[in-house]
Subunit: 558 residues, 2 copies
């Protein structure tokens, strides 16, 4: 019989407790939570505020009482672990309501403290009475009360998951919402041109987007927000969602190593590390948003605060305590969010991350229907895939669309997890009937494009490169129909329709050795054009990746 | 420059033609189609009849004219290839409209003749004027015209994909529909208890289901259908959809080998086989619904008439003609269909197939929400997974549910394709946000269940075994709440609520060495109960797989 203590009762901590009990009826399991609630639906909080989830009780996945009973746990809410003695294997616990402190011994200790919203000391923030961060139920209750006061204008600071979800939910309540983001884009898992599709979506739903700007200070008890650019916003309700920081105080005080951004460092089996000796501390583990994890793509250290990995770590660490082996291959960071009528999903690294790491990659785009175009309500899923040109391993993928968007990323995430290559994507046998997909699923299409590129059928140019090429005198042939071209095209491009190309029409450049660039709506006809132009004697042909769709997304102005 | 002939212009044939052109501008490519239309949306035909697809033109994915122009093809509709001389490398072609016959030589020949509906000589069928099969556009036009005559009653014979889709579409037009199927279930890719969920769905939408019965004869010009059971049905419109047979006449006449059910036999690279020598016939290939394929699961020969594999074979055979290598790993048969408000999808082998082949397998069920239960409109996806107890390789999976159902099968199909095991399912990092999934996706859950079983945490009993066990004196504990139990339970089961089990309540069997069976709604609480009962001294505990949900589905009566 072991005595196992768990610090933190949400996601990883709650999962660990339940799994520990399933693995042993005998062990004593104590779960400490300094707040009132364990195991609440933290991912659902914005939707409760937005009245999408109507019933507050729905947020409580498990109550402390029910979970205690079901799993025979000693759950202590309003009990905060304030110190760890790793040598003596003891923790000090403070009863939050009385201030009384007591000691508990342990055979194993699991830290699952999570992460807290960053709230910097912006001038005027202390005097503000309408600025909120969102992490837990009490935060939610406060924001819900503020929303019930019928604010006319809200400002959301930060364009990450919580910021975007809050902007959507407040907007859907009829509030005039402005989202302010320091970066030139929202939702960092996406590369810029993919995020642009969501900028368009947010604008289409009436959210004012201010990108590349941050809060300088608050005035008038928070009613006025002055940005770094000097722009001033009026706000009845402000949500500060500029990121989270790991709850590492307990670990740091105990002498456990933390990473460059403060995350608790662990071994592959989640033991914490003694910061002085660099050795694992036996029987003390850390999991969840507070820890540093291994990036599945390249094995570097990173931090990925997501519920899925936290839950998995909770189960895994319980298994580990019971001697069940596991292999920690790292975290891909598969993520998804609803942005009004669209969905974005991503997995692995994006181009920005790969560039920063100096990793070589090929980048392809596809825009394909979620299901057969002849079946009603088909919608386009825009996909981006990044792969290693040597190993052909998939490094990351992103998608923006409607129905079926995130599940295409799930399929690619699965190929990545199993070590597959882009060539495997062609071979996948995915469900097809007209209401669900096409005989060639968008994921298959990405594989076909990669095969075409790798076999040298065509070379590629990216949306962010083509303007400079045209400015320097390069020729871009747009092979769409004239009506498509008239509806929008790359400035300086020349329109010659695909089906006329075999006749070697006037307007084709005379110099057949010079680079020739081709494009269409999504890239397919550009590829066909490249094949025809080769037989006309052109030697150096490049197809614009993702066609005008990707180009137009990249050049959208907020 | 090669001269390449293709026989058949739908799916595989059309794909091969387009791919061949992309690989070579110079080759002469002639596509023969004996009917009027190439590359039509054959999977969409039932939906056009049902007025879901409004525009007939939407069915024409590519017209012969547009495709000829785009890909510089010589497409000859109303031209039927009637003979092949493999030695001379020539085919004889008949102009359907004039009867004139001519000869074309070839360097390579691709046969993509497809499959045709089976229409046996049932007594009275010749005199019937209201019995239709559905394969192509002319068939569709005829049925559409019949539907526009406002039939009151329709009978669909056959519960495969086309039969079920036709039944749904006719029913949604307000017609009184009866579906007659010879087997005790519709949709053979599903095992019985999974198909039962769709029997329920069809009945809920007013379709009369007659299972385990077939047509004996037609009377009164088809207005009366007498079944083998003697039951007589009135019908204004009858769809015969009892299966398809490969179009193998051309191949047989040319001396190419065909399999036991008439499918054209090919090498792994799709060359046909000389039936006398057993040797591959060089430069003559066959693809699509007409051929025998390799079952991905166990390498046996099978036939899987689906659009996805046909298209893939079309591309692959074009690559093969151009010397691009590929590995043929076989076909999984991933399939999906809409059945009113539900979706079913499946991949790999089902339990019936595995039993018939004598392959060992473990069978697990899960019933989980498609997304977080606290987010609106969550619906249950019922999943079944079959895996090899030795290698842990996944042998097949089935799912029935609403939104997101088929995409879970896609993820599992992807794991299978990449050679993963059930243990890989736990580790998959899939998209999670409340509108899309749960932190533990249903696919992860299947992996967890498999891990629990493989690590010996509990043993299992199946829905179709438990009645006999209880009849023989076995004890089944149902650990749900009394209100759940009252709403429906396995006859003879004993209700003791999970959360009271640790108190060793009265009613538990005295003999702790005897087998003890447990169940709940879906299997999770049964698992928890098993863990607790072990500590109470019970030695031999079995959890009912899939809980009462699966049991109730299995015992549904049409």
């Amino acid at each position: 019989m072991k005595k196992i203590l768990i610090v933190g009762g949400v996601a990883g901590g709650a999962t660990a407790a339940a799994r520990l009990r399933r693995l042993s009826e005998e062990d004593e399991i104590i779960l400490f939570e300094r707040d009132e609630y364990i195991s609440f639906a933290n991912c659902g909080l914005p939707y409760y505020i937005g009245d999408v989830i109507k019933d507050r009780n729905a947020l409580f996945v498990q109550t402390a009482e029910a979970m205690s009973k079901r799993f025979n746990l000693d759950i202590r809410v309003f009990n905060e672990v304030i110190g760890i003695n790793p040598k003596a294997k003891e923790v000090a616990v403070r009863r939050v309501k009385t201030g009384e402190v007591y000691v508990e011994s342990f055979d194993a200790l699991i830290l699952s403290p999570g992460a807290k919203p960053i709230a910097p000391a912006i001038p005027g923030i202390k005097e503000a009475n309408n600025v909120y961060t969102l992490r837990n139920i009490p935060d939610t209750d406060k924001i819900k009360a503020a929303v019930e006061g019928r604010p006319a204008r809200a400002v959301v600071v930060g364009g990450g998951f919580i910021g975007v979800e809050m902007a959507e939910n407040l907007r859907d309540l009829g509030i005039d919402v402005t989202l302010v983001e320091k970066l030139p884009q929202i939702l960092k898992p996406l590369d810029f041109e993919m995020a642009q599709m969501l900028h368009r979506e947010m604008k289409a739903h009436g959210v004012h987007l201010i990108l590349g700007d941050g809060v300088d200070h608050f005035e008038n008890k928070g009613r006025k927000i002055v940005l770094e650019s000097g722009v001033a916003l009026e706000s009845d309700l402000t949500i500060l969602a500029i990121g989270v920081a790991p709850e590492n105080a307990l670990a740091k005080d105990a002498g456990f190593r933390c990473g460059p951004r403060g995350h608790i460092v662990t071994t592959d089996t989640y033991e914490v590390i003694d910061d002085i000796t660099g050795q694992p501390v036996s029987d003390i583990y850390a999991i969840g948003d507070a820890i540093e994890v291994t990036d599945f793509v390249d094995g570097t250290k990173t931090a990925i605060p997501l519920a899925g990995p936290a839950n998995r770590q909770g189960r895994t660490v319980a298994d580990r305590i019971h001697g069940i082996p596991f292999k920690n291959a790292g975290v891909q960071g598969t993520s998804v969010a609803k942005v009004f009528d669209k969905t974005f999903a991503a997995t692995g690294n994006n181009a920005v991350q790969l560039k920063a790491k100096g990793l070589p990659f090929v980048e392809i785009h596809a825009h394909r229907g979620n299901h057969a175009g002849y079946y009603p309500n088909s919608s386009v899923i825009s996909m981006k895939l990044l792969y290693d040109p040597e190993t052909l391993k998939i490094l990351g993928a992103q998608a923006v669309g409607k129905e079926g968007t995130e599940k295409r990323i799930d399929v690619i995430a699965t190929v990545m997890r199993l070590g597959g290559t882009v060539f495997d994507l062609q071979e996948l046998e995915l469900s097809y009937a007209p209401p669900y997909s096409a005989a060639k699923d968008p994921v298959n299409i990405l594989g076909y494009i990669a095969q075409n590129i790798q076999s040298g059928e065509y070379k590629t140019v990216q949306w962010h490169e083509i303007d400079a090429i045209i400015a320097a005198g390069g020729t871009l042939l747009d092979v769409r129909r004239p009506d498509e071209y008239a509806g929008g095209h790359v400035p300086g491009s020349v329109n010659i329709e695909l089906d006329t190309l075999r006749d070697n029409p006037a307007g084709l450049p005379a110099d057949k050795a010079a680079p020739l660039y081709v494009t269409c709506q999504v890239g397919l006809r550009g590829y066909l054009a490249a094949q025809i132009l080769k037989t006309l004697g052109y030697k150096d042909i490049y197809n614009l990746v993702g066609g005008y769709n990707t180009y137009a997304a990249g050049h959208y102005t907020v």
